[in-house]
Symmetry: C2
Subunit: 199 residues, 2 copies
Amino acid sequence: MKPTTIPLLGYALMGLIHQKPSSGYDLRKVFAETAMGNYSSSAGAIYPALERLEAAGLIRGTVEEMGGLRRRKLYHLSPRGLTELKKWLLLPVESDDVLRGSGELMLRFSFMERVLGASACIAFLESFRKALSGYLPELESFLAGHAKDMTLSSRLALESGIRGYQSLHDWTAYALLEYRGASPKAHSRTKTTTAGGRK
Amino acid sequence: MKPTTIPLLGYALMGLIHQKPSSGYDLRKVFAETAMGNYSSSAGAIYPALERLEAAGLIRGTVEEMGGLRRRKLYHLSPRGLTELKKWLLLPVESDDVLRGSGELMLRFSFMERVLGASACIAFLESFRKALSGYLPELESFLAGHAKDMTLSSRLALESGIRGYQSLHDWTAYALLEYRGASPKAHSRTKTTTAGGRK
DNA sequence: TCGAGCATGTAATTCGTTACATGATTGA
DNA sequence: TCAATCATGTAACGAATTACATGCTCGA
């Protein structure tokens, strides 16, 4: 039982297959049409990935001969696949993850409720929020220290990144409200305008 | 003279070398310490990349024997490298770029003022803003159409993406003000709270 | 003298991209 | 019948990650 390093695309596929058993073609369409996760894409990338997952025993493919239709290989998640998926979803939120773009974190979150339920989502949001609270002041002080040596455009690019993290920070508050507040009547998505807070 | 496909890391290196002739070690430190661009990283990734750039005639490396110091290979941009860098910076802002994460766009913008001057930055910001204005309604309507079929966590993940683009949209307005407004006295970085605008 | 940091590299592996290839089926 | 779309693949290539290897030099 090797460490079984699964690339991000593998988890994306497993998450989607968990939602609904799918063929390679189905999955390609999800990536192409829903602009999901932006990364990963289409063609000769996902079929090999599916083969790797199957070889690792994480998914199983069965050829469907639905009433005279074209043959399609439907994949569904194996018990081991579900275990691995859960393990990945339960990984702690490291500050490195936040730095590395948070794309993986969002992918995890998007699958989380279906696989682990609401309480895991709330715990995730809280630790995500904490990681952001720790990282934002770092960025702000880096900006404060280097702003004078930068061109305006490079400083603005940095500020854009900071704003992105602030927006993410605001979002965690909003998301926690959605999870805790029972009635989704107040569905307005107004900005909280908080964020910039020092620690 | 082949099409010379340069990967993103290559442009990042060229941009940094343009700012200041650097050794591989210097560049690694920039990536490691400034959390620049998040992507790209360190070690046996950047030395090969530098070799490729040199082989392509885009940079030139000269061994420095600074007063009994360790030998270090200083790279500086060649005229052809500068041409390629400018060409990349002047590329139009496609809506695909926005979708694919806007990381490349920000990298371009951060180098832009030093290489092309302020007017190019303004033009870039305007077309970036336009691309975002076109993309945001698409995302909003996708959300409106699919929200009912989603778990709360997957819907929130999508909303987080939308908020990110809105924040970027706000940022373009702020950045244009910084470029146009002469006195950088009003350096407050307050949120514009606009954004969600249709077209 | 000895370890930490400077500085540059190499090799194996793994993965994604691009482009091509194939065949079945449906609608015009 | 012919094009579009469904559906699955394969092969060449480029590039990143990881881990290892080397040697210099400075300060304690």
